[in-house]
């Protein structure tokens, strides 16, 4: 039937099209109001923050002295002297976000789904079910960004220029990941787990996954691998993954997915965004600084290296005469423990052994301390160097250069003066 022969049909069609367009338009609007919680608000917030790019903008729930590296997405690090506590307070945990923080989080209806090729079935749990169906555990676990220390590499590596502050070791409370995985059933061919979170991509596309990383199944099944909802007995800070996240101590913190809502048990190495390319990867073989490394020659970073931090005194201390003072801090070594801790006040020419505490549990940092008196008037640097349980030490200069500037574990240095 042609339109000319039947005008009523034509009209029907026109009004149908017109109505359809209106409906579609309505849907787009509805979609926008759903995604607007992460769109317009954060965009406006960021714009105003850009105006104070000098560095006096602040992050909700975080200590005012955190150093902000990036306001969109939020990235901020903690100066060493603010990390003096054995258990890192929640407001001093660094912020490392790849996308926009989810807003209007509905805790009542928050769910976690376990799925994947190597899952016996797909199963979804509410937050309440996770809390009541499984035994709860608390561990102090060290989370450090793979790019902590990037700032020092030359040629410069792209990304947030972290100094020393992308490290924290608070007390995490939740359930063992392995208890949940075993409740679902893990097939014998499982290789990796990959997480999915509710953060939103910077370009505003609600379907684009921001970051989806994970760990080999062996690490996932360790006792200390947690699905956590609490830090130091309170809800997770929003910036650190509220209401639910993974915590794998001693591994690049990007493996510990935030705003967790899905875990995939994979029969191969997980292939989500930022598992591939140059993200969180280093060359398979040593390269000279600035070398162009082909993508296929890059390998995934697994465990983090041995490292330490001087948290007291704060750099810049002026000491009167030969007065002795305590130098102290923390040391950590991925999945290993710290065997010995030394400091030097003569640029590494001689080293003094510090008193070292044992770790409270695996993957927790250890505390060390020593009394120091500066030998003469003038400028003195104090360097700290940890040795792990396998005898591996922190280097005094930068470790191996790599294209994205990961794994800088060079010894920590502070400046002091004897006056």
């Amino acid at each position: 039937m042609s339109d000319k022969k039947n005008p009523s049909n034509k009209l029907d069609r026109t009004s149908f099209i017109s109505r359809s367009v209106l409906t579609l338009f309505g849907l787009v609007l509805a979609g926008n109001s759903i995604s607007s919680n992460t769109g317009i608000k954060s965009q406006k917030k960021t714009t105003s923050n850009n105006k104070t790019a000098g560095g006096n903008s602040k992050i909700a729930g975080k200590h005012a002295e955190l150093s902000i590296l990036n306001s969109k997405p939020w990235n901020a690090e903690t100066p060493p002297h603010l990390l003096d506590d054995k258990i890192t307070p929640a407001d001093r945990i660094f912020v490392r976000n790849n996308g926009k923080v989810p807003e209007n989080i509905d805790v009542e209806n928050w769910t976690l789904t376990i799925e994947g090729e190597s899952a016996e079935k797909t199963k979804t749990y509410t937050l309440a079910e996770l809390k009541s169906n499984f035994k709860q555990y608390s561990y102090q676990l060290t989370l450090e960004c793979g790019g902590n220390g990037r700032k020092e590499f030359t040629p410069a590596a792209k990304g947030n220029q972290w100094s020393t502050g992308a490290i924290a070791c608070p007390k995490w409370t939740g359930i063992r990941l392995k208890d949940v995985l075993n409740d679902v059933g893990v097939k014998s061919n499982a290789v990796y787990i990959g997480y999915y979170g509710k953060d939103v991509h910077l370009n505003g596309d609600p379907d684009k996954v921001v970051i989806s990383r994970g760990v080999p199944i062996k690490k996932a099944l360790e006792d200390e691998a947690l699905i956590a909802w609490a830090v130091n007995d309170n809800d997770l800070p929003l910036m650190n993954g509220y209401p639910l996240r993974l915590v794998f101590g001693g591994w690049p913190a990007s493996t510990s997915g935030k705003w967790l809502h899905k875990i995939s048990i994979r029969d191969k190495v997980h292939d989500g965004p930022k598992m591939d390319g140059y993200s969180y990867r280093i060359p398979k073989y040593p390269v000279a600084p600035g070398t162009k490394v082909p993508e296929e020659d890059m390998k995934i970073i697994e465990v983090m290296p041995v490292k330490s931090l001087i948290t007291h005194p704060k750099t810049g201390a002026k000491v009167k005469g030969r007065k002795s003072f305590e130098v102290r801090g923390h040391a950590w070594a991925g999945d290993l423990s710290i065997k010995e801790m030394h400091i030097s006040i003569d640029y590494g020419a001689t080293w003094r052994k510090c008193v070292l505490d044992p770790a409270i549990n695996k993957n927790a940092w250890q505390q060390w301390r020593i009394q120091v008196a500066l030998p003469e008037k003038g400028y003195h640097e104090i360097w700290s160097r940890a040795t792990d349980s396998e005898g591996i030490m922190q280097p005094m200069v930068l470790p191996a250069w790599n294209p994205k500037g990961y794994l800088n574990n060079a010894c920590h240095r502070i400046a002091t003066k004897c006056v």
Binding site: L11, P155, K318
Partner: protein, 142 residues
Amino acid sequence: MENEARKYVNLFAFIVILALFWPYLSELRPGLFKKHVEITPYKVEEKPEVVDGIEIESGLIYAEGYLLVKQQCTSCHSLELVTQNRATRAGWKENIRWMQETQGLWDLGTLEGPILDYLSKNYGPKEASRRANLKNIEWYEL
């Protein structure tokens, strides 16, 4: 005839609604209209405030091409991501390609050249050092 009239009323209503909501639509979903709308979160100031060579609103080094960076880069991320980085022209270009291939950055067209000029000139490679001197120390009495 009544039906015909209703058709025009419908169309008219649609256009009015579209016109009313257009600014919100383009702001809410930049990705949706990326190809048609140039997102400029900053107004072009005739006399930008510059202190010590830094344009205050953006934090960028005030030099030829800064406005392009200010306009093109801020719809996704803050300019701190620009100012804290250092690279050669090739390095900055690689960065742009990565954002285009994986992060949804649009084709910068004829703006790419001037943007790369600005970035490589003002945010070029830093001096090489195996370990730099400790800097910016605030001295205090212990």
